[in-house]
Homo-oligomer: 192 residues x 2
């Protein structure tokens, strides 16, 4: 049950087995069926979830009603709205399962306990936020300065496991253009 998440933590920082045991003892296992919501816009996010199994999408609905996908997450990723979680403010996003999921969950309370008991985790979570920030910056640069074809190819490269698991129009909404246009992009690419 905890092998994957322990391996994840060890890849970040050299935790001891006791520290990891403490970590594990605070995690809650949760199943969440396909096509259901972990978080709705306006709610306060009460979890940080590590995905043992499944696929999850985080998205925002803009003023004209269109969805913009912020993140796809699969096995070995964390999912949360960190801003909402840490500041306990209403979220701007929906978090929805695309497949049946198995999760390991931290709540504000268990995370608090963890950070008090094993301060090293503070660093791990800080690194996670920081990497998130760095990736988001790079994504903004790409969103502004590359063409649809480049965006799509880059996505395939960066997240090769995703296209097989999620509907194409979700990828279009991640990349920031219409599903019809993604279809045209794919046609063009396959013609070459």
């Amino acid at each position: 049950m905890f092998e994957k998440i322990n391996a994840y933590a060890k890849r970040c920082l050299p935790f001891t087995d006791e520290e990891l045991a403490h970590f594990d003892s605070l995690l809650q296992y949760k199943k969440q069926p396909k096509k259901t919501f972990l978080l709705l816009e306006g709610e306060v996010c009460q979890f940080e979830a590590f995905i043992l199994k499944g696929c999850i999408r985080t998205y925002h609905i803009d003023q004209s009603g269109a969805e913009v996908t912020l993140q796809f997450a699969i096995e070995d990723w964390w999912v949360s709205d960190i801003t909402s979680f840490t500041e306990q403010k209403p979220s701007l996003v929906y978090i929805e399962t695309l497949e049946d999921c198995e999760l390991l969950i931290l709540t504000p309370e268990t995370k608090e306990k963890l950070l008090t008991a094993v301060p090293g985790f503070e660093r791990m979570f800080r690194l996670m936020v920081q990497r998130n920030l760095a990736q988001l910056q790079e994504r903004l640069f790409r969103t502004i300065s590359t063409t649809a074809v480049e965006k799509y190819l880059d996505f395939l490269n960066r997240y090769p496991a995703i296209p097989q698991r999620v509907a194409q129009h979700y990828i279009a909404s991640y990349l920031g253009f219409s599903p019809e246009f993604l279809s045209k992009v794919r046609k063009k690419l396959s013609a070459q």
Copy 2:
């Protein structure tokens, strides 16, 4: 010299006067003339700078040679490449003064000392990174789902002090469209 930065810190968290005095003792004052670089792409960022006076722009140059502005910063803002600074990795961005600047600087060493001596500051910097992340997310959503006119009006609203201080084509490069088109957007808006 330290009133502004102390006020800034107090707005974040309720620091005591001794804590602030310690903070102040670690800051280095630095003047930086107009149109010079605090950081070049490829360098490792060795500072987090609080702006006492002046105006600074952070930008990236994409593969086709176009500039994408990541941030404008004026009095009371912090400037750094946090990813480069904390992980001591080469930066992707240029940080350039647009006006003569006066700064208060933390280096990796002084920041380390500060966090050890006054752990409360750990929280302040974490909040700063997190707000940065939240704002960047919202900006990505706007970049993807609003029109040039909306982007420009939103910018004016969000950063009313900036347009008077920076060249228009820099604003275009922040918003993600060409300077010519920004000019046309402005014409359209003024005609109404």
